[in-house]
């Protein structure tokens, strides 16, 4: 019954177009922020060292960009490394590719 009353009360609410009517001046004060550093290094997985991934991947983005991904194949991860290198100019040492991929799929 309470639910019905709530619903009927809501039905009485106005549904007309509500036009905005504010006029905020442009900001004039300097804004300073400090970004948190809440993520650390990638951990070892099943005995596979994260050293190559940590050395090559975390300069441009924090660790969660990697750990948040769905399960990707070695081929998909290799495509990602290629994209980071060719599109974003990531200085990933080609000699490290295999070690990075070993860690990415050790999951």
């Amino acid at each position: 019954m309470r639910a019905l009353l709530l619903f009927l009360a809501a039905l009485a609410a106005p549904a007309n177009l509500v036009l905005p009517s504010v006029e905020t001046p442009p900001p004039t004060k300097r804004l300073d922020i400090t970004l948190p550093d809440t993520e650390g290094l990638l951990p070892e997985r099943y005995g596979v060292s994260a050293e190559a991934a940590n050395a090559n991947c975390l300069a441009c983005h924090s660790a969660a960009m990697i750990t948040a991904q769905p399960r990707l194949t070695r081929v998909q991860w290799a495509e990602t490394i290629t994209k980071m290198r060719t599109v974003y100019g990531a200085p990933i040492d080609p000699a490290d590719d295999a070690a990075i991929l070993d860690w990415l799929v050790a999951d």
């Binding site: 442009p26 004039t28 969660a64």
Partner: protein
């Protein structure tokens, strides 16, 4: 689902402070922690610290038609300045114009002021829910928000500079910059017809306050009805182009299959692609979480929000029988065609499990499909979002 890898992910993201785990409902690896560590931000779902990706919890949409600035989602591709003096900020207008300009915020404020309520939604909102999964920022459905944006029309700024005949696009860029020299600077080139239209604005205020730094202080482009990839933050450069922008962010990124739903079969070749632009109607149930257990009640209240894309929401309907029958809902206050529209309805749900579906339709007659669309970039998610509930 809590797995070893999600535990590792959460441990990585874990500062000493108290935090909440959130299940974004992905098939795998969907647990995230919340964070209160970001400046000018309240509790947000942490997707990535650097460059920040912060998602708005669903409960925020249940409580507000206008998403509070401190819980508005955050998405950066590249590093950006963390100290900005708006008095020193200049917006350059250059390229294929009669008179190049360098405008202060005070200069802009002399133009006619406009205000628009509009939803800002990431093209990849809901990407983590794609099946099969695709790489990229793994958003739930909280990479969106509705705000009242205030500023001046882009076309009025362009008129000050005088767009020359033959202009085809207007490239907008901000203060964010990649770390490496060869990476492409983030820039988006609006088609000239859209740039000279009534809708795009250069905004300095969001819900009556200056933009939070993480949302683009001191100026950002607002392109109502279009995905947020176009809403360039920390805007400092407008370049009128006499030929199409072939840069990475126009020619290679933020492209979708060339059909309105951006829908392809996972097995098929990609085919022709076009830039993501206009958003589609979407409805979200906000008062029930997936998997909720509710007591029997003759009337189960279903509440949520909807967006219409580039046309206003005209209806939201509910179904608890996979779309065999639909019940209309009552729509809340109309804040304009680009804004969130609240809906409220009741369902009579007998004991047992139910999938509650909300379906939005807009003024152009576009309706949410029951089946999800799919593409390899995870853009333009458009189908209904069923919520599983159990009456027990």
């Amino acid at each position: 689902m809590l797995t070893r890898r999600t535990l590792i992910a959460s441990a990585l993201a874990a500062p000493a402070a108290a935090q909440t785990m959130v299940d974004l409902g992905f098939a795998d690896n969907g647990m995230r922690t919340t964070t209160r560590d970001f400046p000018q931000k309240g509790e947000m779902i942490l997707q990535r610290s650097s460059p920040p990706l912060l998602e708005t919890p669903l409960s925020v949409f249940d409580a507000h038609d206008f998403t509070p600035n401190e819980q508005f989602f955050v998405r950066w591709h590249y590093p950006f300045p963390t100290s900005i003096d708006p008095a020193a900020h200049r917006l350059s207008v250059m390229g294929h114009v009669a008179k190049p300009l360098s405008l202060s915020l005070a200069d802009l404020a002399r133009l006619p002021r406009v205000a628009v309520a509009a939803v800002n939604q990431c093209a990849g909102n809901g990407r983590g829910l794609f099946n099969p999964r695709v790489p990229g920022a793994q958003w739930g459905n909280g990479a969106m928000g509705n705000a009242l944006w205030e500023g001046v029309r882009l076309k009025d700024v362009l008129a000050l500079a005088g767009v020359k005949a033959g202009a085809v696009a207007v490239r907008c860029a901000g203060l964010d910059a990649p770390l490496t020299e060869s990476a492409p600077d983030y820039a988006k080139a609006l088609p000239i017809d859209h740039a000279l239209g009534e809708e795009p604005i250069i905004a300095w205020a969001m819900n009556g306050q200056p933009l939070p730094l993480l949302n683009g202080f001191p100026l950002r482009l607002v392109v109502p009805g279009w995905y947020s990839t176009w809403w360039v933050k920390m805007l400092d450069s407008i370049e009128v182009l006499a030929r199409p922008d072939e840069g990475f962010w126009m020619a290679k990124a933020y492209l979708q299959p060339a059909n309105p739903l951006a829908d392809v079969s996972p097995a098929s070749p990609a085919g022709d692609r076009v830039p993501v632009t206009v958003m589609r109607p979407r409805a979200f149930v906000t008062n029930l979480t997936n998997g909720a257990r509710l007591p029997p009640d003759p009337f189960t209240i279903i509440r949520g929000i909807a967006l219409g894309g580039d046309h206003g929401v005209t209806s939201v309907e509910l179904s608890a029988d996979n779309g065999a029958s639909w019940l209309t809902t009552r729509l809340g206050p109309d804040h304009g065609r680009f804004a969130f529209r609240r809906f409220l309805g009741v369902l009579h749900l007998p004991r047992g499990r139910h999938a509650v579906i909300a379906r939005a339709r807009n003024a152009a007659g576009v309706e949410q499909p029951l089946r999800q669309n799919w593409n390899p970039s995870g853009y333009n998610r458009a189908g209904v979002e069923p919520v599983q509930v159990e009456i027990a």
